[in-house]
């Protein structure tokens, strides 16, 4: 199943990805990370480490918050939302 994935701006800048969603085929968050990493090497490590999603990055499939093992509902848009904290 293909999902539109909205990447955070700082990662789009890092990988020179134009604005707008990228289309990724995946059935769960883990697969989605693998697919992103296949297209943009190292992306998975920006979003996860040591088998877990990074603590300051949230994944949403539709309206539901996900973890690494979460399945992706059909047709759900995936939004990757970084922490707004900073300085």
């Amino acid at each position: 199943m293909t999902h539109p994935v909205y990447l955070p701006g700082q990662l789009r800048d890092l990988y020179h990805i134009p604005a707008g969603p990228v289309q990724v085929e995946a059935t769960c968050v883990a697969d989605l990370l693998a697919a992103l990493d296949g297209r943009w090497p190292g992306m998975a490590h920006r979003l996860s480490d040591a088998g877990r999603l990074r603590p300051y990055v949230l994944f949403f499939a539709g309206e539901e918050r996900c973890d690494l093992q979460s399945p992706l509902p059909p047709d759900a848009a995936v939004r990757i939302v970084p922490a707004v904290a900073g300085g």
Binding site: Q10, L14, P41, G42, L47
Partner: protein, 354 residues
């Protein structure tokens, strides 16, 4: 020939291109905008630049540029301690050092550890020997984190290297990193029981030419070793403070080194608001203050990687402040000029000839 000053800041990296007279400078950047650039280093063999880039959101990576900073690739493959709930976490890359072979790079990280790449930073391997030292369970962080911030390869022996960890001390390997020995004899650590062999808070080390002489700026003093780290001599007398972060040694004159003292660890800015660089020409027996061209009423900090030198003669020196100013000297620190302003807080400065 051109001088490059590589500036790592809290919000990205910058490159200043200078002429050989070191009077005219052009600023480029930021690259990795928004990323904390802890350190940028230059490999003189192929003029690669390597940048230690971190965010608390997306972790740590090492960037590489093959065109003097115009474009960058990046990787963090292998920059991890792996899956371990109770074990260390790799939070930042602090310091990078080219190795002896082309494409070889070392990375010092937080939580303190040493990583190694043989493919120009594309992939990394953890050199596990250091974290197997018996003292590892006792390592405690300084205010900036438990960081391996200094890597000093021996000038001629490929199996020898020193590293500095805040606040665990100086460690030395004589077998290429398989085993390590703490080398902190003579260095104060008043927060530790007397006689402690680790727990000293080394801030920066700078090697002098010759192999076995190293200068050290510590949390509580300035030191020199003449025997490869086995013993350290206190050379703080004559300086206004024992506290500071950066340390620079002359690459051709073993008797010369520079420090930038800060008030004690409860204030941590330049004494009396006067930026001053101090030089020794006699291996730390005496120190001379220089303020020519440096500001007063300037309550700034220069961090441990915030001062560096080029390789020209006379030697050029450069330092960057917590308030985003960059200063340069073309006469070995006798006089200074501001060459950049309004940068984000500067974390590191390095100079290269290309």
């Amino acid at each position: 020939m051109q001088v490059l000053v590589l500036v790592g800041t809290r919000k990205g990296g910058f490159v200043l291109e200078g002429d050989q007279a070191r009077r005219s400078w052009q600023l480029r950047g930021p690259f990795f905008p928004g990323w904390e650039i802890r350190h940028i280093t230059h490999d003189p063999r192929d003029h690669s630049l390597y940048a230690a880039a971190n965010t608390f959101t997306y972790g740590a990576l090492v960037g590489r540029s093959a065109d003097l900073g115009a474009t960058w690739t990046h990787s963090s493959e292998g920059l991890t301690y792996g899956k371990n709930d109770e074990g260390p976490k790799l939070k930042r890359v602090w310091h990078l050092k080219p190795g002896r072979q082309a494409g070889e790079v070392y990375a010092g990280v937080e939580e303190a550890g040493l990583f190694h790449s043989r493919d120009a930073g594309q992939s990394w391997q953890h050199l596990e020997g250091l974290r197997r030292h018996a003292s590892t369970p006792t390592w405690e962080p300084g205010g900036g984190g438990l960081c391996l911030h200094t890597i000093v390869p021996h000038s001629t022996d490929p199996l020898r290297m020193w590293v500095g960890i805040s606040a665990a001390g100086v460690f030395h390997t004589a077998d290429g990193g398989s085993t390590w020995e703490a080398q902190n004899q003579g260095v104060l650590a008043p927060w530790r029981p007397e006689g402690s062999v680790t727990g000293q808070c080394v801030h920066k080390m700078a090697p002098a030419p010759g192999g076995d002489r190293i200068y050290q700026q510590n949390h509580v003093g300035i030191y020199r070793t003449d025997d490869g780290g086995r013993t350290w001599i206190d050379i703080s007398a004559g300086l206004p403070s024992r506290f500071g972060f950066c340390m620079v040694a002359h690459p051709r004159d073993a008797e010369s080194a520079w420090v930038l003292p800060l008030t004690g660890d409860d204030q941590r800015f330049v004494p009396d608001g006067q930026v001053a660089v101090w030089r020794t020409r006699d291996a730390g027996r005496t120190w001379r203050r220089t303020t020519a061209g440096l500001p007063s009423n300037a309550w700034v900090v220069v961090l441990r990687d915030g001062m560096h030198h080029d390789a020209l003669d006379p030697l050029g020196l450069y330092f960057g402040t917590s308030t985003g100013q960059l200063f340069a000297s073309g006469d070995e620190g006798e006089s200074w000029a501001k060459i950049a302003d309004h940068l984000p807080p500067i974390m590191s400065v390095a100079a290269a000839l290309v």
